[in-house]
């Protein structure tokens, strides 16, 4: 009974948070609004620049992959929100890590993750009793056997509603279990977000330098390519927040450029010019600022170049 109460409460929360509200909480912010995911939203440029076999078949001589990364930079990294909208631990985001292949599309690569095992001994010696897995699997199989009815049911019959039903009633009548309920608030963030046992702390990327190996200069071996705590990425521990910060750095030049273009379009160009004229007097101050911003740009460019080098497994493809 208590489990049902909790579920009802979560259903209600889900509706309030996600379905009943029409307001766009982003719209009053200086940060651009969040576009809903769309079929063609993110990789439009990618589509325009590649033949249809690029993604479907794979293999063969790689082409257009720098363009792909630029698209990714523009559509994913440059659109990462600021701290306030991302949450203190960037919990708005989750991450997918795509690793290098063994097949030499670029150079072969392998990745070794290191994760926190502090307190694991203590956890393992705690004798918490759970229901045996057997009963879990019995339940799982029963659920999956019920899938057979989906194949003969008319899809519309599964969602019959009355005209006066409000959204909560509809939702409870036929809750679609392929949508999750909200995380209960009392549960703390997991190892992906807050350092604790099982938090990934670092990974080391290895690669095989095929040119050196094939030419006989090197024996066959995988060698160190980079680790996430290097002086360029400076990822202390691999919680989501750290990656999101890196993502912001990778996307910043694109974001700044877009903002500049938007400002120009909005007629702010003139104002800016006026401001610049006024500032001419304080030339030395300006040039100091300029060199500081140039330095910042250089640093960001260096991070992006390093990232591309690693994306293509030190094969020099990007050049």
């Amino acid at each position: 009974a208590s489990s049902k109460d909790v579920e009802d409460e979560l259903v209600q929360k889900f509706l309030v948070d996600n379905l009943d509200s029409d307001s766009d909480s982003d719209s009053d912010d200086e940060d651009d609004i969040t576009e809903p995911l769309e079929d063609s939203n993110m990789y439009r440029v990618f589509d325009e620049n590649h033949d249809e076999d690029f993604v479907r078949v794979q293999g063969g001589i790689p082409s257009g992959k720098v363009k792909y990364m630029e698209t990714l930079r523009e559509s994913l990294y440059a659109t990462i929100k600021g701290k306030r909208k991302s949450g203190t631990s960037s919990e708005r985001y989750s991450l997918a890590f795509v690793s290098a292949s063994v097949v030499p599309t670029f150079n072969p690569g392998l990745r070794v993750w290191e994760y926190n095992i502090t307190d694991l001994g203590e956890k393992l010696t705690k004798k918490t009793q759970f229901e045996p897995w057997d009963s879990f699997f019995t339940g799982l199989e029963t659920m999956m056997q019920s899938f057979e009815k989906y194949d003969i049911e008319d899809e519309d019959d599964t969602f019959k509603i009355n005209e006066n039903d409000d959204l909560a009633t509809i939702f409870k009548k036929k809750r679609d279990k392929t949508f999750p309920l909200p995380k209960p608030e009392k549960l703390p963030l997991g190892p992906g977000y807050v350092p604790q046992t099982f938090t990934p702390e670092r990974y080391v990327q290895y690669f095989a330098d095929l040119e050196g190996i094939n030419s006989g200069k090197k024996d066959f071996s995988y060698e160190f390519e980079y680790s996430t705590d290097n002086e360029i990425y400076e990822l202390g521990t691999l919680v989501v927040d750290e990656w999101i910060k890196l993502g912001r750095k990778l996307g910043k030049p694109i974001k700044d450029k877009k903002k500049e273009e938007e400002d120009d379009e909005g007629g702010k160009k003139k104002k800016k010019k006026k401001k610049n004229k006024k500032k001419k007097d304080g030339k030395s101050k300006k040039s100091k600022n300029k060199s500081a911003s140039d330095n910042a740009e250089d640093v960001l460019q260096k991070i992006w170049n390093t990232y591309l080098k690693h994306t293509f497994i030190s094969s020099n493809y990007e050049n």
């Binding site: 990294y77 890590f97 690793s99 990745r111 994760y115 997991g190 994306t311 094969s315």
Partner: protein
């Protein structure tokens, strides 16, 4: 554990992906002929950027290197598919049998390398997942049980817990407790979410295997949460708008978001490029809201 007895946890694991071994690869052949014939410069271990698959020796020596350098230092191996050459040379078309045989060969090599010499259990757990080239024809994978899911279970029998046979036969997904009652790896069959699989449409219709996959995922995650276990999600095709059907992608993202106390992250291959993908839960919920309001 009862299965393995005492186990030393090192706090390290390996991710290996897209081996693509090609038995027709010939050293010194022509690269524009997929390194299968002619006279050219194809290197012994293959060449970066020139477009050929992996010579067998690259796969064998890679696994040997892992055995020599990593085997005793890692807890488990996440292995995200594509264990056969691409279907790109018309002179050497791939058959279903070729695919099964090569997958068996790679699977045997992995098992022999990482097994426990004292008993049939693995010294290092291996968690495979299905690549879009591991199926015939490539990209096409229908809901199970089918010949393909049965064959796959046979090929991976040393890696998949026997208790999950029936579930696996339906969808080629399963999970492995790599640290009993603490940490699990969920192997997702991403071909059910994959836009390029013409046998599936979306993840919103109940008939679709992607819909069923999310019911399975929900059931498993709920149990993991109740046991206070943590999980990694793994699979071949990574989640992005190009790869996944939008109805599948947004579900993947909101599950990751609502189980942020349980899910550590996702590990994928397929793209051949090293990068990370941030997934925005707000954008995913907006997309869901838009789609539900339409109804």
């Amino acid at each position: 554990s009862t299965e393995k007895g005492e186990q030393i946890i090192h706090g390290r694991f390996l991710h290996i992906t897209d081996i693509h071994p090609d038995p027709y690869y010939k050293t010194g052949s022509k690269q524009d002929g997929f390194c299968h014939s002619g006279k050219g410069n194809a290197g012994k271990y293959g060449d970066a950027i020139l477009g050929c698959d992996s010579p067998m020796v690259l796969m064998e020596d890679t696994i040997k290197w892992i055995e020599d350098n990593l085997k005793d230092k890692i807890d488990f191996i996440v292995w995200t598919g594509d264990n056969i050459r691409h279907d790109n040379d018309r002179r050497y078309p791939r058959t279903e049998l070729n695919i099964f045989e090569m997958n068996q060969q790679v699977s045997d090599l992995m098992y022999d390398t990482f097994k426990n010499k004292k008993d049939p259990n693995l010294k290092v757990d291996l968690i495979p997942s299905l690549g879009n080239n591991d199926v015939y024809p490539h990209n096409l994978f229908s809901p199970g049980p089918t010949l393909q899911t049965r064959e796959l279970f046979k090929i991976w029998r040393n890696f998949i817990p026997a208790s999950q046979l029936h579930v696996f036969n339906r969808g080629a997904y399963f999970f492995q407790e790599v640290i009993p009652n603490q940490l699990a790896i969920l192997s997702i069959n991403t071909l059910y979410l994959f836009q390029s699989n013409p046998l599936v449409d979306n993840c919103d219709k109940k008939k679709e295997p992607g819909y069923k996959l999310f019911e399975w995922l929900g059931y498993v995650l709920k149990e993991m949460r109740s046991r206070n276990m943590k999980v990694w999600l793994t699979g071949h095709v990574p989640p992005n708008e190009k790869n996944y059907d939008i109805s599948c992608l947004r579900k993947y993202i909101v599950w990751s978001y609502e189980y942020r106390d349980v899910i550590i992250g996702g590990l994928y291959g397929h793209m051949n490029m090293d990068h990370f993908i941030p997934l925005d839960s707000v954008a995913a919920y907006k997309s869901i809201r838009k789609s539900l309001k339409g109804k």
